[in-house]
Subunit: 218 residues, 2 copies
Amino acid sequence: MQTGEAVSIVRGDEELLARTSHLFATATEIACAANGLGTWMLTHASEDLDALARARRGHVRVRKVYRPGVLIDPVSAQGLRRVRDRHGAEIRITTDELNETILFDRRLAILAGDLSGGRRSYSVITQSEAVQGITSLYEAVWRSATDLDVYDAGIAEIRELAPRVLDLLGQGVKDEVAARRLGLGVRTYRRRVAELMDALGADSRFQAGVRARELGLV
Amino acid sequence: MQTGEAVSIVRGDEELLARTSHLFATATEIACAANGLGTWMLTHASEDLDALARARRGHVRVRKVYRPGVLIDPVSAQGLRRVRDRHGAEIRITTDELNETILFDRRLAILAGDLSGGRRSYSVITQSEAVQGITSLYEAVWRSATDLDVYDAGIAEIRELAPRVLDLLGQGVKDEVAARRLGLGVRTYRRRVAELMDALGADSRFQAGVRARELGLV
DNA sequence: CCACGGTCGGCAACAAGCTGCCATCGCTGT
DNA sequence: ACAGCGATGGCAGCTTGTTGCCGACCGTGG
């Protein structure tokens, strides 16, 4: 993964860590995008960012874009606010479909691939045109994304009833039954469900179930 | 958790391990029930059973009951067969709703509770009437369950198309679109979906999505 | 060849889910 | 008091999902 190699595939988290951790110490600009919180890049990026924050706060611009699903769970929403407050990270929320991405100084891009054989593969891209292309895509997402606090304010109400709605959805009960159990009309229950599905970025209930599980909401 | 204490609550996997690992070495009868493979009790139970198998094979009866979802993934299905062949474990499949349970010698029962605060709590029950009650429930499930090979033979066809069906379900596409992509009629696609939902024990597509994600199928 | 069993796929009836519409209600501000 | 706004919930039309039915087709065995 040295100069001359435009794209290299790295298999597994450990290898990626070995090859990239120095970047957190040297980069002046780090930009991340992810669907959820439980992924390697953002887990480790947060750990490394802790060290970075202590050592280099003020000298590095950190940006993160997430999907709204991360705000449904109050604990993870709070975690995001902490990251923003502690590290000075700029955090925005987008409803766009995201590929897990991390950019260093507009010079190196890491894209997460699929999980295969129990290990996730990552594309580490250093070729400058490609990095520029990915960066411009990231910037477009960034521009259209909503500031964390603004989005969070809009989602606070959804968050309140979400655990109960998700629990009932996870039990497989019909809307009419679920609504009755919550003391709501069916129309209102379905509104809540639709809001959750929007927040999860899901087009079907199956997909919503997958997403909710991924995010640890059920 | 000594004599006189009928039910004790243990929080977290580490504590449970500390308190129960000796049982794997001394018990002559171990019976487990679970929905999937990725839970502590059965993960560690398998590790401990490895040691047990080497040291005590022939001196301990091991029984496990699972839900059919574990057979959808060919890798985990194979893993089950290996456990059965290597350890002489008797494995059956049930479509009944299961609580994660492990029984030692009809004298001690462990029931998994909910995940709370990031840690799962377990009820460790030594009170004999309660253990008998749980045991009899287990025996009822065991009796009505189907032998691994028999069930597996019935599920082999489902398994074949499952990855593709699950992938499309996970993308949120409509049945008509998914059927077309697979080159099937809608009626047949829906048959495949219904079979998967049965195997997952799901009553709704949301629930199926959750289950599928839990089992690592998507 | 025929009979039988199993699967597929179109069709249709029904249920469940999605969402717009609108009347009603409660709350807030003037 | 009234006006305005937002949320609720019933209703209804539409879409999507569920499942039975049945004819067609294929493979197998006698």
